[in-house]
Symmetry: C2
């Protein structure tokens, strides 16, 4: 059972291969859909009264527990971005925080004993607030974005100190640690407290660091990528979902979880918005896992 | 026994971590030194009368056969480049072709039966010229650079058609095939004739493609990189050296060769110029190969 805190949004995405208009998005959403293939997820977030019922329905079909999803008067968090042909770093066309600007996660008492906690990339002050409400989860993972690294470095450090796993992408890791070399970056972050640091490099794969070992894996190589939105959150969802299902924190479980995260991210980017993830069949995950084995083993 | 054709140069390299002045360089040099840890290499190239004897001595110490290294009146090919902190794409400060501008590789008759041929990144017309002189090598590998993709596309295609293995880096592969997606890029190149395409992605690892399979591996993660000059050629040297030693073209040998190439490249970048490769001890290669296994297996 995972408790996940994150944004639930309506995204308008333009890519050279198509576009969506106010489609289901947000870091909490991608995380929860992805993790739902492995375990049950309770999603804490906020939406406005404009949030389409069909999206609620889609999440319910994935068996995501939405008890903690607040509905507030006003409009849902909206993001609009445009990708060019290389599908890297979208240009943000619009960010409307709307009801998300006053989001204050309140964890229902029945969720406070959840063993697995994922703190999506929200304000570190809110992440700390969530941590205070929880009864010693077995595993705490957190994610962040450049914005919080710049705006709330002290609060973010306090979150990282309490986390078991810290997810970031390579440029965030460099900015957070003020180091270019990723090995040094990871050593710095580990010195703050977490047992694991996971550095996501997009199409170039993932690095997993602990005090005693390092693991690297390439991304799954795809022929057609439609939309990278949500890939990092889908990765984290697959990773945490697998760990929660397996209930093991061994090095080998962590590595397998990295691969499952990689597989979920690869499905995510094959469709616009969350479409590909939502239409994914459970047995395709194992099929691609085996394909990935053949793709990487020597 | 590998026959390798490539440049032998005097490099002046500036990095934030140090500099060299007219140090031993060139694609043929890096390839030959790297491959020499696995098999015997005959190096075909040209140097000027200014080429320091100590560098000849260093290559002889690595048991490289220099019978085919022509000494011409004039100055040796010189290159000077400067790297900034991220150690990507050096700024070329100077290129003096000197004796290399009239280089016309003549393969001594005793070398024409060499079973393994490596055509370094010289003019494709010269690569074709070398191919004509050879008696059906068992394995032909070729490399190129952006310059030839742009200046001699027809000749380059004729080389690629005759090659078993084509090495390029990711941006070259994209330019050569006019495709962004690396899987499509590789499929296009394979359609021209080669059995294998190897796409080098620098710090992000390597991809190996054949008609029926794809293999990806990350680069070895280092804490201190001093100078990336020669990394691609050292990779090719380790790859070809291992294949020539093993005398096997099976998929599993090719994959292991990719890893040995990765290991040799990782040593190369740990020192300025060719220094780290030249001082490498044989048993360190196996040690790092095992370390790499632990770094990538799940």
């Amino acid at each position: 059972m995972i408790l996940a805190i994150g944004s639930v949004a309506l995204d308008t995405i333009k890519t050279p291969f198509g576009r969506t208009n106010a489609s289901l998005g947000g870091s909490g959403t991608y995380f929860a859909i992805s993790a739902s293939f492995f375990t049950r997820v309770s999603l804490i977030g906020v939406i406005g009264t404009d949030f389409p019922k069909k999206y609620i329905e889609k999440m319910r079909l994935r068996n995501i527990d939405l008890t903690g999803l607040q509905i507030k008067n006003g409009r849902t968090f909206r993001w609009s971005g445009e990708y060019s042909f290389d599908l890297n770093n979208p240009k943000t066309l619009l960010t409307e925080l709307n009801v998300f600007s006053s989001f204050n996660p309140c964890i229902p008492s029945e969720f406070r004993n959840h063993p697995y906690l994922f703190l999506g990339n929200i304000d570190p002050s809110l992440q700390l607030n969530v941590l205070k409400q929880m009864n010693e989860p077995r595993l705490i993972a957190c994610d962040t974005i450049r914005y919080w690294i710049e705006k709330k470095p002290k609060e973010l450090r306090r979150v990282v100190k309490k986390a078991d796993i810290f997810f970031l992408n390579d440029s965030e890791a460099r900015e957070f640690s003020r180091e270019h070399n990723l090995k040094k970056t990871a050593r710095f972050i580990l010195s703050l407290g977490p047992r694991y640091v996971i550095i996501k490099k997009g199409e170039h794969g993932v690095l997993l660091f602990s005090k005693n070992s390092t693991f690297a894996t390439p991304a799954f190589l795809l022929e057609d990528i439609f939309d990278p939105t949500g890939a990092g959150d889908s990765f984290a969802g697959g990773f945490m979902g697998y760990i929660a299902q397996k209930k093991s924190f061994s090095e080998s479980s962590m590595r397998q979880a990295i691969v499952y995260g990689t597989i979920m991210a690869s499905y995510c980017v094959e469709g616009l918005g969350a479409r590909a993830l939502l239409s994914l069949k459970q047995n395709n995950i194992t099929r691609r896992y085996n394909e990935f084995k053949r793709f990487t083993q020597y």
